[in-house]
């Protein structure tokens, strides 16, 4: 085992353990938990066997093999940021409409209270 393989293996194992522990503690919904478990599994495999990057690089015609996991990581992170923004927008609309509905219901309640006083 070469030096860089030891380093990548340690990083991948630590990430895998942290992800699995957090998922087991129910800190995350089941849907994203599956995605994170799969992702940490993929990182573990590539970390333990960095030669996979060399094989992929020769298949894709990339001369600098270590850039491949970095490139995939960037794509995944950008996609995740975009999906998060979409989710955030949906949540914001839901919250705003709930605030509006509460105001309408509060007005209705005030109306009922006023009628009861009369």
């Amino acid at each position: 085992m070469q030096h860089y393989q030891i380093f990548s293996s340690i990083v991948a194992v630590i990430f895998f353990i942290i992800a699995v522990v957090l998922v087991r503690r129910d800190n995350i919904h089941p849907g994203p938990a599956i995605r994170w478990t799969l992702l940490s599994g993929a990182i573990l495999v590539i970390g333990l066997f960095p030669q996979i990057s060399d094989i992929l690089a020769s298949l894709l015609g990339v001369s600098y093999a270590p850039i491949i996991p970095v490139l995939f990581a960037c794509i995944i992170l950008l996609l995740k940021a975009l999906l998060n923004d979409i989710e955030r927008t949906k949540d914001r609309v839901k919250i705003d409409r709930l605030i509006q509905r509460i105001a309408i219901l509060e007005q209705k309640q005030m109306d009922v209270n006023r009628q009861n006083k009369l």
């Binding site: 927008t89 609309v93 705003d96 409409r97 605030i99 509006q100 509905r101 509460i102 105001a103 309408i104 509060e106 007005q107 005030m110 006023r114």
Partner: protein, 238 residues
């Protein structure tokens, strides 16, 4: 016709009573005030008038969303006409009669009380740009004095309308997409007493507004005309 005046208010204790007094004389309208999470005495002042319908928002959600709260209330309570009115004292109550008469005569879905003279040179340049980008032939794009009929109320109560941030070009673009008609009536407006706009309160806010609205114009312009298309289908079915 069941009509309401909707006034969104955020920290308007200095002007709100003066705005409400003449409106309460007009018995043909229900007056709805949406308190947009004010931190001053706006809510207390408005609550003193028993005839006013008060919608108190738990937190500040912005001028358009506050306005939409009033519009949603009117949609739920079967109002046929909504008039939007500013709480800062810019709009004049007497102009409402003229606006309503014109809407009844012409039958337009949206009537805008227009006062292009009030804007600065830079604002006029921005309006011209947005007119070109959006294809909306309205001179005063940012006027908050508007009348919406029942179809417009229905469209503006939707979840999609909750994505908008300002009650100007975005709202008109959305209504235009559904094939609703607009008209403009020249009205007089007062100068803003405190001199600060809720939208243009800083240069950063102006830059954001310009970028936001330009993007909205470019992304939302559609050739399709959903409501006209649906009306056509219905007329064919009948």
């Amino acid at each position: 016709m069941k009509s309401a005046i909707v006034i969104p208010a955020f920290n308007e204790q200095a002007s709100i009573c003066e705005v409400l007094e003449p409106l309460l004389q007009m018995t043909e309208f229900d007056v709805i005030v949406v308190d947009d999470g004010s931190t001053d005495n706006t809510l207390e002042l408005v609550s003193r008038y028993p005839q006013i319908i008060v919608l108190p928002l738990a937190v500040n959600i912005g001028a358009w969303k506050a306005m939409q709260t009033g519009i949603r209330y009117c949609h739920l309570n079967n109002y046929q006409r909504v008039i939007t009115f500013d709480a800062d004292g810019q709009h004049i109550a007497e102009s409402l009669t003229n606006l309503c008469q014109l809407q009844e005569a012409r039958g337009d879905d949206v009537v805008i009380g227009s006062c292009p003279e009030r804007g600065s040179v830079s604002r006029h340049i921005a309006w011209k740009l947005f007119r070109v980008l959006s294809g909306i032939k309205v001179n005063d794009l940012t006027s908050g004095l508007r009348i919406y009929n029942r179809p417009a109320i229905s469209i503006l109560s939707t979840r999609e309308a909750s994505l908008l941030e300002y009650q100007d070009v975005g709202v008109l673009l959305m209504l235009k997409t559904f094939g609703l008609s607009f008209s403009e009536v020249p009205v007089d407006m007062n100068r803003r007493e405190d001199g600060i706009s809720r939208i243009f309160y800083s240069w950063g806010a102006v830059a954001y507004y310009m970028a936001h609205t330009s993007f909205l114009c470019l992304s939302k312009v559609r050739k399709s005309n959903e409501l006209s298309y649906q009306k056509n289908i219905q007329s064919h079915i009948k």
